[in-house]
């Protein structure tokens, strides 16, 4: 893992001192609400329905056991004993006190963490493929570049007051597992024939009320030029992005207004000035970071002198293995998903106890390292296969082994109207109702891979646009309604889901989902997963299945 050097450490300490001063001035009436708001947002501090919420950055989703234990400590000491892992791989504490936020930041700084730029109109926390470094299909590990981009974007003086928030994601594999086409900038690892590492650059993706897929603006950018090119994009955006209307202020709108070719030309012109300049990344920098991100030394079979024993025949264990254990690059190792999707607890939530258990498991079985996925689960990237049963038994005891990874009940969900001041509707009760309806494992396994994502408002924190089934909470005459989309997907064939028709009341949603999967079950070919059936038969059979055959027809 990357470890802070003196400069990084000093920066977060200075940040804490600076924010503490701002908070004191605010609480003392010397800093107005309007002047303070952008400052607190740049420290991830929102004012929510019940209490302020603090969003803590987990750069590219990478966590050490020590850091996760600190998150558990913060949950216990400053919150109500739990935290919420988000689709952007951050963690949110929903019940903090405003005046304690500087103390929390000081505690975070002691384990090389912070909340810098987790909100506000600036470059947000950078996300990355959760399988970086261990995926079998990896082109190269993007994390050294993620870290370089993190350092560059942290307090980047030119880009602290952009027209709107700005999100960057990296993918390192042949398969995109970071939803890079849904971000302002997506960077996808590429190599030239002679092995030079670089990126294909996608721009102008985003969710929100105007969802758009990012377009490829450059098929190959040498890795050395990453910061120069990012600066060129951000510079063009900062100067020319719209500031008169916050709903038209994201990069995607500028790209659309200028056309992709027009935007590309502006960026190229800017890059010409910067290319080869001071921000060119020296090979030694990348090499030094590669060493920090190197995988632990993997033992071959028979590690610790203990003979490999076949795992006991256990149906629960084998179900879990089928769903929550992913193939690792090393044949004797596995990648384990610790599920935060147990029916009845809000998706992505973890109690302090669960965080500590996950930290212990990581320490015992995964070289002290975890990842936070954008599906709101935790992942152990370096588990020797022979310890899987032992690990599973502990995970089960703490409710971290729900065997539903990639299935319908592994649904993604924002905190919604129960917490969030932006939400139009609640999302957690709807998520729970769906989980309860599909709680039977035999049914769930029969349905196979199916991604359901739910947002409580158009801001799309629940990533509903890219759900195979998406649910969006909307407000109609002060009542909560839920719009359903179908056919969204992330990955190499990214698509934005399409609305199937009029919205539903919350209580009808489980039945609607049942009708949708009913159409799939009736029409699927053997071995065909939900999204492939959808692509083959289109949206109409699903509309008919949900609204009745006569719906929308002109008599």
């Amino acid at each position: 893992m990357y470890l802070y050097n003196d400069v990084d450490q000093q920066l977060v300490h200075d940040r804490v001192a600076c924010f503490r001063g701002q908070m004191e001035r605010f609480l003392g009436g010397r800093l107005s609400e309007d002047d303070f708001r952008p400052l607190r947002l740049q420290n991830g501090l929102y004012v929510q329905r019940h209490s302020p919420m603090l969003r803590v950055a987990i750069p590219y989703g990478l966590l050490s056991s020590r850091q996760l234990r600190m998150l558990a400590h913060i949950a216990r000491t400053y919150d109500r004993g739990y935290g919420h892992f988000t689709t952007r791989c951050n963690v949110q504490f929903n019940w903090v006190r405003l005046n304690q936020a500087p103390d929390i930041l000081a505690e975070l700084a002691s384990v090389q963490m912070h909340a810098i730029q987790t909100s506000g109109n600036c470059i947000r926390n950078i996300t990355c493929d959760a399988l970086a470094g261990v995926a079998a299909d990896e082109i190269f590990d993007p994390r050294p570049y993620c870290e370089i981009a993190r350092q560059w974007s942290t307090l980047a003086p030119e880009f602290m007051f952009l027209p709107r928030k700005f999100k960057i994601a990296f993918a390192g594999g042949a398969e995109d597992r970071a939803a890079i086409r849904f971000y302002d900038i997506g960077l996808w690892a590429r190599r030239t024939a002679d092995g030079t590492p670089g990126f294909e650059v996608f721009v102008g993706g985003g969710m929100g009320r105007t969802p758009m897929l990012g377009h490829s603006v450059k098929t190959f950018l040498p890795g050395t030029e990453l910061l120069n090119y990012l600066t060129a994009i951000l510079h063009v955006y900062n100067r020319h992005g719209r500031r008169d209307n916050k709903y038209k202020a994201r990069l995607k709108i500028l790209v659309k207004d200028l056309t992709l070719a027009g935007f590309a030309a502006e960026v190229e012109a800017e890059w010409r000035h910067l290319r080869g300049g001071l921000d060119t990344i020296p090979a030694e920098t990348v090499a030094a970071l590669q060493a920090l991100f190197a995988n632990p030394a993997y033992a071959t079979s028979g590690r610790d002198g203990v003979a490999d024993a076949p795992p006991p025949a256990n149906r629960e264990f084998s179900r879990w293995q089928t769903r929550n254990v992913t193939r690792h690059r090393h044949p004797d190792y596995a990648i384990v998903t610790l599920s935060l999707k147990k029916t009845g607890s809000p998706p992505g939530d973890a109690t302090a106890q669960q965080m500590e258990t996950a930290a212990d498991l990581a320490e015992r079985f995964s070289a002290g390292e975890l990842r936070v996925t954008h599906e709101q689960n935790l992942l152990l990237p370096h588990v020797a296969r022979k310890y899987l049963f032992e690990l599973w038994a502990i995970a089960v005891s703490q409710g971290l082994a729900t065997p539903n990874s990639g299935l319908l009940t592994d649904l993604v969900c924002c905190p919604g109207g129960d917490f969030c001041a932006l939400a139009n509707a609640r999302s957690i009760p709807v998520a729970t109702a769906i989980q309860q309806r599909f709680d039977d494992l035999a049914t769930l396994f029969d349905l196979g891979p199916l991604e359901l994502k739910l947002s409580g408002c158009v801001n799309s924190c629940g990533h509903h646009h890219l759900g195979h089934i998406g649910i969006l909470g909307v407000d109609k005459n002060d009542a909560e309604w839920y719009q359903v989309t179908l056919g969204g997907r992330e990955g190499n064939d990214s698509r934005i889901g399409r609305v199937i028709g009029p919205a539903f009341a919350a209580r009808d949603i489980p039945a609607v989902i049942e009708k949708i999967v009913g159409v799939y079950l009736a029409r699927r070919h053997p071995g065909e997963i939900f999204i492939d059936t959808f692509v083959r038969i289109g949206i109409e059979p699903f509309k008919s299945g949900v609204y009745g055959a006569g719906h929308g027809r002109i008599d």
Binding site: N5, V7, D8, Q10, L11, D14, R15, C18, Q22, D35, P38, L39, N121, E147, I148, A149, Q151, W152, L155, A156, P157, E158, F159, M160, F161, L162, P163, L227, H235, N238, R239, R243, H273, G277, L278, D279, T280, I281, P282, E284, T285
Partner: protein
């Protein structure tokens, strides 16, 4: 009147008279005139040579490239921040300093608060005309909010 932190890091009186439009220019008594870009373009020949210095102030959507040929003659370039959350001026500062090589005084004017002066200084701004309610001493201290400076090439 707004306090000024000058390029020497001192709280000082502002000798410049900021001109908003042609009407103000017609009655301008000041010796040091800070002109908006259109007035500077139109009148700099006529005003030059008299016993006064000329500076130019830019709006966030002005194009600083037009200053390029005359940039060395300018005693002051100011960038206006109509609202501190409008970050376009940071990019103008970078361009004026780094691309057009301006070595004179580059001033942030308008809605300038102590909590932004550190970032402004890192974009090349050398003096700061603070918003009227801002304490110049606090703003001076805030120039050192971080002991760290951005380093190029992603290497710390």
């Amino acid at each position: 009147m707004a306090a000024l932190i000058n390029r020497h890091g001192l709280v000082a009186a502002d000798p410049w008279q900021r001109i908003a439009d042609a009407a103000e220019l017609a009655v301008a008594p000041g010796r040091h005139l800070l002109l908006p870009l259109p007035l500077w373009t139109a009148h700099r020949q006529a005003l030059a040579g008299r016993d006064r210095a000329l500076g130019v102030w830019l709006r966030p959507d002005d194009e600083p490239a037009v200053l390029r040929t005359a940039i060395a003659t300018l005693a002051l370039i100011a960038v206006d921040f109509p609202c501190f959350t409008d970050g376009r001026g940071y990019s103008l500062g970078k361009l004026i300093r780094e691309r057009y090589g301006y070595a004179g005084d580059l001033r942030a004017i308008g809605d300038i608060l102590r909590d932004q002066v550190y970032f402004l200084s890192k974009c090349g701004f050398s003096s700061f005309a603070l918003r009227a309610d801002q304490s110049p001493d606090e703003a001076l201290a805030a120039l050192h909010d971080y002991r760290w400076s951005p380093r190029p090439g992603g290497s710390r």
